[in-house]
Symmetry: C2
Subunit: 226 residues, 2 copies
């Protein structure tokens, strides 16, 4: 009457032995598009990001992740050394994408764009990172920073600095122009905090659009556009 100590068997548990003649009747194969690629690793990262965001790192078991990626419980460890290494991969990948996309956004601005317009683009893009299509990665970083090991944190902090760097000259220009009343370095911390905290209360499916959200944030920090 005791609970089995090992993983539950796969769906069809008819023959236990892997007799050569039974090979083709074994466990159903994965869908073709999910096999033989090198993107099993990506699938794990994607699944982990979603679960880590929804439930938290500690509350997500590696078995949950394996199931979400359509694998058996031990298989994520073929791709990742540890659960922590997987968290690191999620955060690193999300942050690298964010840096790349932010650079694109900034390059698409007119060369002479005023700092107000630059800040608007940065803020709007930041909300996109938080709530857009693959918007699980950065919230995982925001929530689970504590779960990274110190060396992992150092590794992530370097990429994070790349993300934050472009904000400073913009805030300094706004401060010099009198549009920003606080010290630019502290303003950056407060502003990013205000934006990041929105993952706690903003719901993209609600009435308020991301554009309107960004406009209100800018109103608060530097007043309405002139």
């Amino acid at each position: 009457m005791s609970t089995p100590r090992s993983d539950p068997p796969p769906v069809p548990a008819t023959q236990a032995l892997d007799a050569p003649a039974a090979r083709l009747r074994g466990r159903p194969r994965k869908a073709l598009d999910a096999r033989d690629d090198g993107n099993r690793r990506q699938l794990i990262i994607q699944s982990a990001a979603r679960l880590f965001r929804a439930q938290g790192f500690d509350a997500t078991s590696t078995r949950d992740i394996a199931a979400a990626a359509d694998m058996r419980s031990g298989s994520p460890f073929y791709h990742f050394e540890s659960k922590n290494a997987l968290l690191h991969a999620v955060v690193e990948e999300g942050l690298q994408r964010a840096v790349a996309r932010q650079q694109q956004v900034l390059q698409q601005l007119p060369l002479q764009a005023p700092p107000q317009e630059r800040l608007a683009a940065l803020v709007r893009h930041h909300f996109e990172i938080l709530f857009g299509a693959d918007g699980d990665f950065i919230p995982v970083m925001l929530y689970e920073w504590r779960s990274l090991t110190p060396p992992q944190r150092a590794s992530i902090a370097r990429i994070k600095a790349d993300y934050e760097a472009p904000w400073m000259p913009v805030l300094q220009a706004l401060h010099a122009a009198g549009a920003l009343k606080a010290d630019p370095a502290l303003a950056r911390m407060f502003i990013m905090g205000a934006l990041n905290w929105s993952v706690q209360w903003y719901r993209p499916e609600g009435r308020l659009s991301l554009d309107a959200l960004a406009a209100q944030a800018l109103d608060l920090f530097i007043g309405p556009p002139t």
Copy 2:
């Protein structure tokens, strides 16, 4: 050679039986000030708050808490139904204290105090809550909201509403006076987010005082005092 399955024995493990004559030579008594009060429960809450903040709710075992409160592993369950009930108690107690102290702060303001001064008091007090003497409770709420059960969240949300209520008339007055450029309801979310996020980066032992921190936040949101 296997690890013991039960808790490690108390420091002196000489006699196993509780022979009446040996009563007075048993396990050392707790310090007098920690005994016979009804405040063992408070000690557990206090210890849990500190550990939950430092390590997170999931990463803190009830054994850690028991040890920090100078008890054996099962004893917290004499005072609390479950680990979750303990988390709820921590958050509830912290929030109730915050509401009470905030009311005091507001009552000490001059009756005719302008909204700028009122917001300054609210912001300054909020930082006090986050970084002051027993500053573990509210950060636990901010970090571990997800770990509360839905009924617990509803219970806490009611007290949270009491805490947040006094902010709205102040922000509305500032908006009407032209000092606050964003919609007051959204401004409240952004402002509290900016303040709350500071637990991620501000260190009270650093160069920046809480007063200076509050002044900078006010500069950002409504400009320098006139």
